[in-house]
């Protein structure tokens, strides 16, 4: 194969391009939080955090950290002018009530029908933790997933059916991986972009679910 994998930052940069001006957006903890760095300054994108922040901004300068101003990943943040604070009831009204335009979540697995698994590996001795993922999965108008295409050991994460416990059924709309962009449609998983130098057959070979090629001549330009 003569392609290169996108870095985590490059996946974030690509996902950021699909977030429109004026969107209310929740970035899941971990990988998706990187997207904030790549939102163009000329767009007003309102970042929501489930612990009660709307329109929060970048991390504070060293020495300016406030233990009472953190995001859902428990990282220090700042507030933009026009930002607001609210309690957990209102915060989840924003999420579950369909007011968040886009959420971007990490994934253990995404299935061909848009089912998402990202809260539990089902291992018997693992401590389960769910946080707000199930609320976002059912509540956000659009659910994006940002993930490496395969696990560290090369197992496919885009699968025909989940083997891990489900977070939300039929919830995922678009998947950004280090190899491609996939739209989840009624017809199946439609690949709209791939990294340069990767063939569709090579992509299919590292994907458990059946993919549909809609890349045409376009390759990801990052």
């Amino acid at each position: 194969m003569s392609h290169r994998l996108l870095t985590r930052d490059q996946i974030a940069e690509r996902a950021a391009q699909d977030i429109p001006d004026g969107a209310y957006v929740n970035l899941g903890i971990g990988l998706p939080t990187k997207i904030a760095k790549y939102l163009p300054a000329d767009k007003d994108v309102f970042l929501h955090s489930e612990n009660g922040l709307l329109a929060f901004g970048p991390p504070p300068a060293k020495g300016e950290e406030d233990p009472e101003l953190i995001n859902a990943g428990k990282e220090y943040v700042t507030m933009l002018d026009g930002g607001s604070f609210f309690h957990h009831g209102d915060s989840f009204a924003m999420m579950r009530g369909g007011h968040i335009d886009i959420c971007v979540l990490g994934a253990f697995q995404v299935a061909a029908n848009g089912d998402l698994a990202n809260w539990s590996t089902g291992a018997p001795d693992a401590i389960p933790a769910v946080g707000g993922a199930m609320d976002l999965a059912v509540g956000a108008k659009k659910v994006f997933v940002m993930t490496n295409h395969t696990t560290k050991t090369g197992e496919p994460k885009i699968v025909s059916e989940l083997t891990y416990p489900v977070t939300g059924k039929h919830c995922v709309d678009r998947i950004f991986t280090d190899l491609c962009v996939i739209d989840v449609t009624d017809k199946g998983l439609v690949v709209t972009e791939m990294v340069e130098g990767l063939s569709f057959a090579e992509l299919q070979a590292v994907t458990d679910a059946t993919l549909i090629d809609a890349t045409g001549i376009n390759a990801t330009q990052v």
Binding site: S49, E50, N51, G52, L53, E65, D66, P67, E68, L69, I70, N71, A72, K74, M79, F85, F86, H87, H88, G89, S91, F92, M95, R96, S120, D125, A126, I127, P128, A129, V130, G131, G132, A133, M134, D135, V138, G139, P165, V166, T167, G168, K169
Partner: protein, 230 residues
């Protein structure tokens, strides 16, 4: 004259008995009433059921309470964190019961209790392991899970300012579960950084009206309560 801010922390907490169900505010350590928790530890009550978003961070606050073995069960959404070693050890040793609740369901179940609702139908968790065995309902094209209210004997919360009628304002992301827990407990005890005279809190800005608060305890912030968070 009503003065909800007239008792010291020990007298206020001495109402709490073995077996109590206690909501503790905070998201991670932001908004966690660390001094109330310390006083609860000193009280030595046992067999507690705790409701919080997490299951303690580091060795302070809620984690310290768990470490004493006083907690029988915890209801939370996100126990597993990089610094949740106290909970992790208790859980693996089978010394604490965990009820895992998606965060939004935790919030709406607490709200349901505060609002006097019998239950709520929530879409969150439908079709997942966390909805197994629960009643389902298909309403207007969407699937819902029946979830019951979570109420408590006590809520221990942290606010920024309070007055003698129990009105509260919060600070930044420390607000989180405070306002909804205050509504869902029989007795809400708020630790505040400052108590102010009646009238000093602008009625337009009061977040928790005093009707939901039974006690206000002033604890001035020290460097230890604003220590670095996880």
């Amino acid at each position: 004259m009503i003065n909800k801010a007239d008792k010291n922390i020990t007298d206020v907490l001495s109402q709490i008995k073995d077996g109590a169900t206690i909501m503790i505010g905070g998201f991670g350590t932001a908004g966690q009433p660390a001094e109330l928790i310390d006083a609860l530890i000193d009280l030595g009550v046992k067999d507690l059921v705790i409701i919080n978003n997490n299951a303690g961070n580091g060795d302070h606050g809620l984690a310290k309470l768990l470490k004493t073995g006083a907690v029988r069960k915890i209801i939370c959404s996100f126990p597993r964190q990089s610094d949740s070693w106290v909970f992790d050890e208790l859980y693996h040793a089978g010394k604490i019961e965990l009820e895992l609740v998606p965060q939004g369901n935790l919030a709406c179940r607490i709200q349901a209790a505060g609002m006097g609702l019998g239950a709520v139908y929530t879409p969150t968790g439908f079709g997942t392991l966390l909805a197994e065995g629960k009643e389902m309902r298909h309403i207007d094209g969407k699937d819902y899970v029946l979830e019951y209210p979570i109420k408590a004997d006590f809520a221990l919360i942290k606010a920024d300012k309070g007055d003698r009628w129990g009105n509260l304002v919060y600070r930044k992301s420390a607000r989180n579960f405070g306002p909804i827990m205050a509504m869902a407990a029989d007795i809400t005890i708020a630790q505040v950084s400052k108590t102010v005279e009646l009238g000093k809190l602008d009625p337009e800005h009061i977040i928790t009206p005093g009707i939901f608060v039974q006690h206000v305890v002033q604890i001035e912030p020290t460097s230890s309560t604003t220590a670095a968070i996880a």
